[in-house]
Symmetry: D2
Subunit: 243 residues, 4 copies
Amino acid sequence: MIRVLVWNEFMHEKDEDNKASSIYPDGIHNYIAGFLGKEEDIEVSTATLDDENCGITKERLENTDVIIWWGHCGHHKVPDEVAVLVQEAVLNGMGAIFLHSAHKSKPFMRLMGTSCSLTWRESDDLERVWVNVPSHPIAQGIGRYFELPGEETYGEPFGIPTPDELIFTGWFEGGEVFRSGCTWTRDNGRVFYFQPGHETYPTYKNPDVQKIILNAVRWCNPVIRIPDAMDCPCLPRVHSFNK
Amino acid sequence: MIRVLVWNEFMHEKDEDNKASSIYPDGIHNYIAGFLGKEEDIEVSTATLDDENCGITKERLENTDVIIWWGHCGHHKVPDEVAVLVQEAVLNGMGAIFLHSAHKSKPFMRLMGTSCSLTWRESDDLERVWVNVPSHPIAQGIGRYFELPGEETYGEPFGIPTPDELIFTGWFEGGEVFRSGCTWTRDNGRVFYFQPGHETYPTYKNPDVQKIILNAVRWCNPVIRIPDAMDCPCLPRVHSFNK
Amino acid sequence: MIRVLVWNEFMHEKDEDNKASSIYPDGIHNYIAGFLGKEEDIEVSTATLDDENCGITKERLENTDVIIWWGHCGHHKVPDEVAVLVQEAVLNGMGAIFLHSAHKSKPFMRLMGTSCSLTWRESDDLERVWVNVPSHPIAQGIGRYFELPGEETYGEPFGIPTPDELIFTGWFEGGEVFRSGCTWTRDNGRVFYFQPGHETYPTYKNPDVQKIILNAVRWCNPVIRIPDAMDCPCLPRVHSFNK
Amino acid sequence: MIRVLVWNEFMHEKDEDNKASSIYPDGIHNYIAGFLGKEEDIEVSTATLDDENCGITKERLENTDVIIWWGHCGHHKVPDEVAVLVQEAVLNGMGAIFLHSAHKSKPFMRLMGTSCSLTWRESDDLERVWVNVPSHPIAQGIGRYFELPGEETYGEPFGIPTPDELIFTGWFEGGEVFRSGCTWTRDNGRVFYFQPGHETYPTYKNPDVQKIILNAVRWCNPVIRIPDAMDCPCLPRVHSFNK
């Protein structure tokens, strides 16, 4: 069983004047949890900014295999302590998937160490997401590309450390390109950043997007949990000169 | 002119009971600044924990091309704000060289996003540093390897993101290996971590170590400074359909 | 079922004056096939230089999921056409594990594009293989390190492209270090190089070595086979301007 | 002085029915040599398929710092021995820049080990080349992007090993994206692949393209030449047990 926690700031969807409220009336987190929860090997729960301490404790993360994070205008509302808990859980082995505007979330920025900046524009551009690595587990079932009729445009340069793997590259009608699907290993944990998912578009209803998130959950699922990744143990000599 | 700032916590060298006080009576920072300052293309200054705000301001870093950082037991005494200033200066283009126990310094940990942990032991092991990439600018003038008669032993796993380049690997008499020379790019800045340099050994007096630090200063020297690396600009469409 | 083909030049083991003949009387290939074949999910076959065309055809490789290659003094006896078949099968998705002196085999050199050179010595050095990435699937069940009482010493620089992942680093009693476990992706196929395994030592009888080879077989098992990886298709425009 | 050799198959430009004959009447090689030769620090020569042995000998390459290679329909006419000479010179330290359709040249394919395949189309698409890494030496003086009013469209997946650095990404009017500027290190030599440059467009007359090729020549210029990169020396123990 892969235990997934879908975290969402859950702000836009509660705003009647924001399209997100009609696209995801129960919140992006519940929508994503909905399709993930249908899988036999996935057990999903959710948390938001509204929950006490963002619904995140050390114990809860010890019992989470993969966290999925969506945030946009509420990054600053996430306490530093929560961001540290998420970062340390990843270093210990928990997988993490950061979606769209989560590139500027506290946990993602802590794990990357860089600006995570980019250029952006809301102009209803068509986006076409191309597969760079057809053999990657995250890209299975996708084909050469898929299209989103409207998305928020993101553009390079994307202020990230060189990804271990660049799986998807986005083409935007307005002229930009973007490194839309990237993986990194951070100590014992795997991290996947996936660019599509602006709240005013039904992106998470797209079957290719759902497939990718599902593939990514299985790819991020920890191989092993090593709870003391932060330690610096003092260890004795191993060289004995006697064979 | 490459403007170098050598930052050192400057604690052990002021402790009469610590060997560092006789090896580096004026402090590791002044010793390193001494040999770097002899180069015609290098202009060097120093700063320590004793200086106001660690001697670090946004303006000073804007006028620094490469910072060299040595710290060990005083990491916690560096204010978070100072660590953020160093990190952001690197993202904007300033080069950074982290020496030995600076693997656990606040600026290095911010730039890496990982535990930066390792195993360690003080047992006077001989260390032999091997060159993995003889054509790397940082490895020029070194030969196949060099030896340090005594060093603090560091061992794997080293909790770092996969280095962009692994330049040196250390062999320790007590049985360990270590990724002793690693580079990363962080947005516009270059980072080099170099493992040798425990305060109770005259490591910085070793000519190969000095050559490597000098090479690294020149390698880290910024290609360009981009002061707004942290920004996320909103930019108009570039696609005109009119060619 | 993972279909594994163990390929060995099978020369030293037939030479009575070579220790390999008493350590692996049926050949290294049959020894490795022996322990792999005990796994329920693995179906193993073997081939050697003695077989017609090295026992390698396009069809056989299409029905092979992972090839394991051991060669030393007979690299030149492998026809270029066989090396090309192996390379292309990897590009289409077949996994490949190259052991020890196979660093200079024709298929490995074709896949790397580099010299694949190193320094070497036969002096009965103890080797200690350290794990750099404890969370890697190939390193599971290994612990911090394992020891081989005697091995042929390999030393840096190792003329390989920067590995995608460095999983193991070797420490040799005679003073060297070596990048002993490396992975690369080559188009749709995964490649793992593992340094231990000189024919005059019972290395493949070591349980950690067996565990690693078994883990590697499962890690290299193709995600997908794409038979036309070599093609350059001419494809029509996808951009329709009509959303 | 950087000694550059510009190699071009020089076939299309001699065909009256091909636009290349009017765009580059003296051949792409002479056009590129023309603008490079204006630089004070560059000494340029050329060679083509018409020259004896393609104008390439071991001695000539020992005296070449950077080779630039353009080929398209004549890859098969380059003898394997010439491709091996180029590959080995790169391994020894010579820099190499492969332009456009040279992705399928024998030297580039030898150095990569992969299919080097891609999708393509000649449909006069506008291409916009974006800069992923503004601080990279090759990207200096370029700005956020530059445009080519018409180019041959290349599309992913591009069958290359993961580049060490991805410097440019291309956006094509017809809907594709492509990893248009990539670097790799191959033993002691640096390799840069740059996608623009179809022979029926005046791409090499574009000032940004010229700037990039010039920057790349300086970036590829060897740090060191190590003539015996292919050797595997047998070396004595360095560990003495006596410090």
